[in-house]
Symmetry: C2
Amino acid sequence: MIPSSQFVPEPWAVRETALNLTDLAQSESLFALSNGHIGIRGNLDEGDPYGLPGTYLNSFFESRPLPYAEAGYGYPETGQTILNVTNGKLIRLLVDDEPFDMRYGEIVSHERVLDLREGVLRREVVWASPAGQRVRVRSTRLVSLTQRSIVGIHYEVEPVSAPARLVLQSELVANEHVPAQSGDPRVAAAVQNALQPQEHRGRGTRALLIHRTRSSRLRVAAAMEHVLDAGDDCRTELAVHQDWARLMIGQELQPGQKLSLTKIVAYGWSSQRSLPALRDQVEAALIAASRAGWQQLIEDQRTALRLFWEGADVEIDGDLAVQQAVRFALFHVFQASTRAEQRAIPAKGLTGPGYDGHAFWDTESFVLPVLTATAPHAAADALKWRATTLPLAVERAETLGLRGAAFPWRTIRGQETSGYWPAGTAAFHVNADVAVAAARHVRWTADAEFERDYGLPIYVETARLWSALGYTGRDGCFHIDGVTGPDEYSAIVDDNVYTNLMARENLLAAADAADRHPEAAEALDVEADEIHFWRRAAETMSVPYDEDERLLKQDKDFTDHDVWDFAATAAAGAYPLLLHFPYFDIYRRQVVKQADLVLALHWAGDQFTLEQKARAFAYYESLTVRDSSLSAATQAVVAAEVGQIDLASDYLAEAALIDLHDLQHNTRNGLHIASLAGTWLALVAGFGGMRDFDDRLSFHPQLPPGWDGMRFRVRWRGRLVQVGVSPHEVTYELIDEERTPVRVWDVDTALELEPGVPVTRPVHPVKALTARPRQPDGRAPLPAAELTARATS
Amino acid sequence: MIPSSQFVPEPWAVRETALNLTDLAQSESLFALSNGHIGIRGNLDEGDPYGLPGTYLNSFFESRPLPYAEAGYGYPETGQTILNVTNGKLIRLLVDDEPFDMRYGEIVSHERVLDLREGVLRREVVWASPAGQRVRVRSTRLVSLTQRSIVGIHYEVEPVSAPARLVLQSELVANEHVPAQSGDPRVAAAVQNALQPQEHRGRGTRALLIHRTRSSRLRVAAAMEHVLDAGDDCRTELAVHQDWARLMIGQELQPGQKLSLTKIVAYGWSSQRSLPALRDQVEAALIAASRAGWQQLIEDQRTALRLFWEGADVEIDGDLAVQQAVRFALFHVFQASTRAEQRAIPAKGLTGPGYDGHAFWDTESFVLPVLTATAPHAAADALKWRATTLPLAVERAETLGLRGAAFPWRTIRGQETSGYWPAGTAAFHVNADVAVAAARHVRWTADAEFERDYGLPIYVETARLWSALGYTGRDGCFHIDGVTGPDEYSAIVDDNVYTNLMARENLLAAADAADRHPEAAEALDVEADEIHFWRRAAETMSVPYDEDERLLKQDKDFTDHDVWDFAATAAAGAYPLLLHFPYFDIYRRQVVKQADLVLALHWAGDQFTLEQKARAFAYYESLTVRDSSLSAATQAVVAAEVGQIDLASDYLAEAALIDLHDLQHNTRNGLHIASLAGTWLALVAGFGGMRDFDDRLSFHPQLPPGWDGMRFRVRWRGRLVQVGVSPHEVTYELIDEERTPVRVWDVDTALELEPGVPVTRPVHPVKALTARPRQPDGRAPLPAAELTARATS
């Protein structure tokens, strides 16, 4: 059952007008604020009730031993788990001695608004205490996009009808109790009370707590400062203890009078810096933010977002639900990455503890294509993070007996922490995903320096990995055996097409970049023979194809296998499969968890004919159960390419609404950042038909039925290209202020775009070569109209 | 480096003439005594020094949680570990207040003899205490083959040169400290102090301790009784505590006077029986054994072994080292099984804690073929044990979403306890191994009742498993995908030949037996359609074959893969591979841990031509690294079949001497019972060329160069057939007392053997079709002559 959304669509906000206590954890994820460095879940200011309290710092984790029933060579021994750090967003309120708690008394009115242009979470509540005292609370919360270490909260309370004695308690709390996220008691044991107190101090309205993790030995400092707007009779009191600090503010107010508080919280952490250095760092951040003041923080926030939206917004005419969803999606993708600054972008961003806070290949394969086109600085930072982890990846490759670098399947800091190798170590495609994302970034930005300093080392070491992993078979083809592709319902297969074709791009990127940067390549010991080997391997890369059926095979043996019994599974309601069937049974049959061959159709689309794509898409649609959130967006892209526009719409809606509608029933643990990024891909690469093969930026736009228009912008080689699509026409326009022209392609026609000279062309809808593909029983996407209607009902 | 043996070959004993303190644990395994129900390691009577103390009861284990870094559906959650139970073999000695400890003082002479005809371990030591007091100690130890619960020790001590004050301390000790066998602290935690005291009592010279395991809730009782032969001035004192009981005997002796003690220890355990019932059981066993007395126990032991050797002995003329080794091997195979009585035969028997005391497929595939031919009652018991675990196997199959029964990959009591599914759950061949072992047992014994009551239910449920696991592909063949064969260096493959051909036999066994026992089959809900399906699946079973290369493929894709870099591995000394390379790397290349396709050449040899076997053997020899002890024997069998007689000799020697020479450096943890059984297979199926295809008992004898003769006996349909091979002739003879003839085959010629009328035929040595196959660098077996020479040097 798909729950309907509680959020009425509107273009620039997500608005909650009633507090749903049972879905609190979901709204905490949706209303999470972040800048990529700090993330705070949308917990209520007063702390209670909560679904899941959460304050995260990028790459701040606790480590724990990874246990195995049977040990194996090369198994990672240490896991990493994101930690809920010192909570600085707490502001409790007592009304005539009764704690403001929305489970008691009466909620007269409630509204929370995530403002996608302002970058703040606003709340306004009128609450009547059990004793009948009414107060209005307004709060505005931000995680600063311009001051990386800063969280700001503006909090205001006023009695509505009668004088009231009010007490505010603004707190820092370390080692909050967090509900267990795992059935494994060892995980819980590692995460509970992980912060060991090292220093606590306070004076006036300011307080500081410093802690260090037990096992990973990371030190975190959190400090708070307050600006109070209150009458003279206001009384304050500061208490500071090892695990908590509290500023109490007491005042009696008349109706119409307000008690207003600005709270600035600063965070800092380090694995290396000394305690005094860290203390100084957060106090400096506090001073800087306090000096700027609340209004300036708000304005800076708005400006940062305006700049983002100017280059990234997608406007949709005719579908408000998708309009809201894509902006919500882009907002969170931006939040997750803009100030990550050479740290990872986790699968959940910093919105929740899901997947232990780990980053996967999703970042490079789903998030970075969006950032490269809309916020290239963030993409560059994310790729630089991977580059900084190259020494760890080289070490890992050595452990595995390979050459080059093997990036981790899942990690927070760069070490492999995957405890199940068939779906971890064996999923070597992550290495090509990283390299290809870097190559794409270079293609889009034409940033030669980035290529030389960050791209090339990544390409070279990953190309070396592929050289070590693959071999030339008796058929003269280059084969890569025994690996796992994106589809986690197949594993340890030979010649996975996606892996092979991404490896091909990886090898070519290494060869090309080495040719372009001979000195840098030499410094990496790249020799002519090696480049020749890479090109030869790329040219002869095996792509399994069934000539009789004219069908691309996901891997060498895939289409030989027995087909999964979908009817029985549907009858038993046994989805997701991995919770109801053993791996061995899933692996040995034709069943696809998520786009894999279809993902190759998208990203290596130049390697196939349209007919091959259409046939393959139809075939794999019949096997794909979408037990992963990393699927619908890709299916939307390829559906659009092969002319299955209705189906593309359905998949777009599913990708876009995954969190707003909690389609996977786990938004509580954090947002699906890659699926949200996929919303943009479905729109721009799907309905926009955007591709970048052969260094050409090309489009093949076509609107879904019922839409009147779509307009999006991408940043191509520093230039802002706008594409406006209507049902029958498409208009390309350069909207920046440089004077040089830019070449883009409309389908197969090159257009030289001159600044200020829009070019309009007719749209060429793709004619479908097959009937609408069928999905496995019960696994067809909901019709987009039906899904989005739930949002408006 | 292969250590030379410390044991000089002799035909009927293994004799140690010097105590090697560093190899103590190895000799404890070699000198272990067992009857399949109780096993005691060859620890010195006085307990110290020890390598690894060990007293085991078949199927007595402690359970513990199996942890996983990442959980998966259907993973077993509880492990089982064999426990060192109450030690009853301890007899300490004080000589003038100095403890008799062979690390101190002087060992004047030392000898231990494992007597393979008497079934006892004898020891004679002359020791001078640090103070110079000399004593002679003689002990004889047995685990009764006729009284299942009984261990007996006869201990005698005398001063050699001067009067001595002697004290004997005969003990029962529970919860002995055992050196950790695993790097995993959780395993150690489960096993240390696992026995919780429940009752302790004693009177006179008798004492009893009852304990229960913490987690598996099994109760064990151990009791001891003593008969003393000493002078009147002897003084005794009994002390009984929760975890230990001790009878002290003090006496002053003159040279020539002896203090002599017979100690009888009785064991009993149960998961269900009450404490009083268990107490009564062991006390009854004590009384029965005491009443029989030491001499009777010794005589019964000799008789039991005489009966065994009459039907099982292999006599070799011309190779004393192999002669000794095969008798040592058969002795331990017999010990491990004869009184197991519907409990498992573990991979190590009851000789050590290796593999946690688990039983694997080795039992059915290596041990039972020997027992069926030499000690059929023990084979029947082992198969009945499997039959008793059918309900657990059916439950496991249900968990896995399959029909029929899925026997565990590793277990003590029948529950799956394998913590790594690619080499556990996926190794479904264990099911065919069980079924085929039962079918072979029926073929040999013609025991229709056994077939109906035990064989048929096993065949039917395992045939149902294969029906669920396999499918008919587009090529019309029956395929079994995603399984792991015997070669643990490949995993999750399609159409493993060994698995498929064993499944074929399994399916045919089910169909044939169901036809023969229609009522029993009906009771199992077998219908005509199902039988038809089984036959059809068997007939169309896929056997991957490369027509171009005329080569059998181990599995569908095996020969396509890159070949392992053996040269580099040899140079790095990186064997066994699994300790130096990750699974993914091992799985994706052509490298074979242990006979797999070659195992199919043996057991499904009727499915191939001799030429196919010769070509396949040569090919897989070049890839097989023998990182498993379950390989050399099979390579010997097939080498002999394809005329590679020298190579067969080398492999025979390796299989035979695996423990006597500690070839795998782990004999300390227990003997390799399956490899020991393989010694017999190498001799009888290898040089004897014995096969049983098509219900024919056939031979194709040929001796290795340098041997003058070999004579062995097998029990075929209740009759004792003797085969005597000389370099040029073979003589078949019926040596039992029945009057009916028996048909056997010499190569392709049927012989009707009449009682008392030997038939002599010329031998037909097989002409090799290929050159002597090469093994991977550094992995060729040592020449047999060189290996056996080490035993005599």
